[in-house]
């Protein structure tokens, strides 16, 4: 049985093919302004028995192809459980939203929290701040790790934070210190969300922001715990959807 999971996120689309419990193929593309076309291109030439869609674009996909869907929350739970069977807590920070999920003993979602309508504390926030400070997204976390003294950034709103950063730059502050301050504010927000669902180890960190080494380190420091990061942290949702094998949530 060959099953496909596709995670149509706000920034990227991931596709995974699972056969006999093994991942045999995985692909990724930017969502762009026309995610359905992008998703269609990813699917081209991929044969499968069942497909399940997740991510914010799942319903568009459902309408276009009449496929079952599952929310990102359940998809992440299933995917995380497959990668690390003991996992108790999941933090997912994606391009436009972030979520904290606690699992019960059997790997099912016990409780979850999700950011509301604004993109504060998500990948989009980091992306805009990196740009404001002249970093590439890849180097942003690395730069922040070089800071001597992190600045205090009080705004979580992307628009306000950008003006705050601009005024810090104008004051002649080292951009690495500003970068660290921004990373800390993202971690603070993630922590308050995690605490609302209870933080139990092992903790899995997934989503595009899990690629950021500074966020990972700060999370471990403040939680006083090791966090697990999958080899490809953006693929957890697609994996979960593939494992569901054509069943909806």
């Amino acid at each position: 049985m060959r099953n496909v999971g596709i995670d149509i996120g706000s920034r990227t689309i991931e596709l995974i093919v699972v056969e006999g419990g093994e991942v045999i193929e995985s692909k990724q593309a930017d969502s762009g302004f026309d995610p359905m076309t992008q998703a269609g291109a990813l699917l081209e030439g991929v044969g499968y028995d069942h497909i399940t869609a997740t991510g914010y674009g799942r319903h568009l996909f459902e309408l276009a192809l009449d496929v079952p869907t599952v929310t990102e929350i359940k998809a992440y739970a299933v995917g995380a459980n497959a990668l690390f069977p003991d996992v108790q807590t999941i933090l997912d920070i994606g391009g436009q939203d972030s979520k904290a999920i606690s699992l019960n003993g059997s790997g099912k979602v016990a409780k979850f929290e999700m950011n509301d309508r604004c993109a504060a504390g998500t990948g989009k926030f980091l992306e805009i701040m990196a740009h404001t400070l002249g970093y590439s997204l890849d180097q942003f976390g690395v730069g922040a790790l070089e800071a001597k003294n992190g600045m205090q950034i009080s705004s979580m709103c992307t628009v306000f934070a950008e003006s705050e950063v601009t005024s810090l730059v104008a004051r002649g502050e080292d951009r690495r210190d500003i970068a660290l301050g921004l990373h800390r504010s993202v971690v603070q927000r993630a922590l308050s969300m995690l605490k609302r669902v209870t933080v139990k180890e092992p903790i899995l960190f997934a989503g595009g922001v899990a690629r950021n080494p500074c966020i990972r380190l700060l999370l471990e420091e403040t939680l006083g715990a090791n966090i697990l990061v999958p080899e490809n942290p953006q693929m957890v949702g697609a994996l979960g959807a593939a494992i569901l094998g054509g069943k909806s949530g």
Binding site: K108, V109, K111, F112, M114, R117, G249
Partner: protein, 425 residues
């Protein structure tokens, strides 16, 4: 609308262009959300008709009442005792508060971070689009939350006939004394407005009319215990919403008639959703017409709503007024007793509400509770976290939603609601 009401609306001072635009949005929304549902009870036809004439025929009826010398009183809250209004043959109507309207003008008078319900009340006044408000001979504001009581100071500048009722915030002997004093003062004000002196017979008759309406709503809510559920949460909410506008006697008859049909449905195991559909109880802020956003998301995501712990729902309709006494004084005491039990979040502390949520979750066999809080509504948002904690301790899954009347967060809400339904399945 089956008749041309433009002259009537013009006489009421409505802004016809803005009002047309409102009716169009309302009509489209109603079609997409209500008429798109499957297997609705036939009895909902009555409520569809009332909704289609909510600014038309119903307003004409109110104008006819006024022409016959009877009064119309508008209210924003379930603490305004309808029994007293009815005792003078006046009509109590709920005022428009369920949609964003003329927000740019509202924000010249109120801070942006005011809850959507208060902003809406102002928007309908400033935008001249609520015929209920314009036809009211008296508008009752009530000191519930800080937002409402401070905003009435400003609302008073916009309308010539605002009457502000004070309300207690603590369920103490002194709190009850305040409520009683305020209800006696209200009775006098209504008597003065209408020129009718309320005697025991009139008050008893007012109590009977309102109790009958409540009994019909209780009957309807009781039928939602069945699985499959014979009526959608959206439709039951609509009946509750219409109870604030419609003629109470006709409303009572229509609800009872629909309940006969629902009983037959239950007997035949017919429902609007299949058996074992996940069942959700909504708890929190009131949902006034046309605020159907969250129920619509829930019921198009694979669950059914089996109850509303809300002012437009069980909090508003719970408990009858004892009509067994014979003097005005005793009947007024009974009215105070009945309303003093309302477990609004303005009370501190407010343990009754929590008990009622748990009781309702069990009674209606809910698989989970969705707590609905309007953004910037401090009383309900403050209670949301303790409510969530207490329900989870009793193993009742709970989802907290903070939202407003705008549609911009529908995608995120849908993800949350769907994930919650996956969790309780």
């Amino acid at each position: 609308m089956s008749e041309d009401y433009r002259g009537m609306w013009e006489n009421l001072g409505l802004d016809l262009v803005a009002h047309d635009a409102l009716l169009e949005v309302l009509g489209t929304g109603y079609g997409d959300i209500y008429l798109a549902q499957n297997d609705r009870p036939e009895g909902m036809g009555y409520f569809d008709f009332v909704m289609s004439e909510v600014h038309g025929l119903r307003i004409k009826e109110l104008m006819d009442e006024k022409a016959a010398g009877r009064k119309v009183i508008g209210s924003f809250c379930v603490f305004v005792p309808e029994e007293i209004v009815r005792a003078t043959d006046a009509t109590l109507v709920g005022l428009c508060t369920g949609a964003d309207f003329a927000t740019d003008e509202v924000e010249t008078l109120l801070p942006r971070n005011t809850c959507a319900l208060i902003k809406s009340a102002f928007g309908f006044k400033l935008g001249k689009a609520c015929p209920y408000l314009e036809s009211a001979d008296m508008i009752v504001g009530e000191n519930t939350c800080d937002g409402k009581k401070k905003s009435y100071e400003i609302f008073n500048e916009l309308v010539p006939n605002l009457y502000v009722m004070d309300l207690p915030q603590v369920k103490s002997v002194e709190g009850r004394a305040l409520l009683k004093a305020e209800y006696l003062r209200f009775k006098e004000a209504v008597e003065q407005l209408t020129g009718v002196t309320i005697d025991a017979e009139r008050l008893k008759s007012g109590i009977e009319i309102v109790n009958n309406k409540r009994k019909a709503i209780h009957r309807l809510t009781g039928l939602r215990k069945a699985d499959p559920v014979p009526i959608s949460g959206l439709d039951a909410l609509l009946a509750n919403q219409i109870s604030f506008y419609d003629d109470p006697v006709r409303f009572t008859e229509s609800v009872n008639k629909m309940c006969d049909e629902l009983e037959q449905r239950i007997e035949k195991k017919e429902g609007v959703f299949s058996e074992k559909t996940p069942r959700i109880l909504i708890s929190g802020c009131p949902m006034a017409v046309p605020n159907w956003k969250l129920p619509w998301i829930i019921e198009t995501s694979g669950a059914v709503i089996v109850g509303e712990e809300s002012c437009v729902g069980e909090r508003g309709a719970r408990n009858l007024t004892d009509d067994s006494r014979d003097t005005v004084e005793e009947l007024m005491e009974a009215i105070v007793d009945r309303y003093f039990q309302v477990d609004c979040a303005i009370f501190t502390p407010n343990p009754d509400r929590l008990e009622h949520i748990v009781e309702m979750a069990r009674h209606y066999k809910a698989d989970g509770v969705i707590h609905y809080g309007l953004q910037f509504c401090q009383p309900y948002l403050m209670e949301a976290m303790p409510v969530e904690k207490a329900l989870e301790e009793k193993n009742i899954p709970t989802l907290r939603i903070d939202t407003d009347y705008s549609m911009e967060d529908v995608g995120q809400l849908k993800t949350r609601v769907e994930a919650f339904i996956e969790l309780i399945k």
